[in-house]
């Protein structure tokens, strides 16, 4: 479990882009808070991405790394002054390295009320199998 300091840094931390490269479009990207847990040999990642809906969500898998990207559309608040801001508006992105035990073909994801839930099943090969013993 991460200690408190690490969690605080990850709260809306700005993402610099892969390998520190600059983004072509001026759009801030933040790291969403995520929980990772396992139940019955299946791993789940749930990430908070308020403002993101299904069409704005992009999940890709490359070389054992899964990347979740959510685009947040600008609010129609032109002409209004910002009187008080506690959060910044921007896209969300986070990558996770998957263990070899994950069955990459059967990864699925859903999004509801700004929360993305990714299901990562364990591959059959990695599951513990009981070996039956026959008496001779």
């Amino acid at each position: 479990m991460s200690n408190k300091k690490e969690i605080q840094k990850q709260n809306k931390q700005e993402l610099k882009g892969k390998d520190g490269a600059e983004r072509l479009v001026e759009r801030k990207v933040y790291i969403p808070r995520a929980d990772i847990y396992t139940i019955n040999e299946t791993t789940y990642i749930t990430a908070d991405m308020p403002g993101v809906e299904e069409k704005d969500l992009d999940i890709s898998l490359e070389n054992d790394v899964i990347t979740i990207h959510g685009t947040v559309h600008g609010d129609n608040s032109e002409g209004l002054d910002i009187l008080h801001a506690e959060y910044n508006v921007g896209d969300y992105e986070r990558s996770f390295v998957l263990s070899k035990e994950i069955d990459q073909e059967n990864i699925s994801a859903t999004i509801k009320d700004g929360v993305v839930k990714i299901t990562l099943p364990k591959s059959e090969k990695a599951k513990a199998k009981k070996i039956p013993v026959k008496s001779e």
Partner: protein, 136 residues
Amino acid sequence: MFWDMLNEMQKMSDRFNRYDNDFFGSFKNVYPKINILGSDDMLVIKIELPGVDSESLDISIVDNILTLKGSRINDEKKDQEYQRRERVFGDFERIVKLPFVVDREKIEAKMKNGILILNLPRAEATKPKKINVSAG
């Protein structure tokens, strides 16, 4: 004795400031996060509430104080094993002081993709009125 009193007063003042909405301190641990946008005759308040059931929300306004109460329930099963835990759950309450009194009859609240958006038009009676000076 005197220093003790001063110390106590400072501690009280610090404690008060932490709950005072107008204090622009660090917002790292504030939950949920609120942005207030506005003009002279209306306010738009946006609150990040991913995964929160709008039924659990209790929004009330008295004069120019807005109170938001609600809770986010962790709907996951009990026998899960966490590898990482960053998301916040539980009851929350935020009290916001608005720059003017709003018309309670005309308030609109909607929840979209985990963001609560409140539209609050200013109360007619509080709008500044031009006073015409006639040549006397």
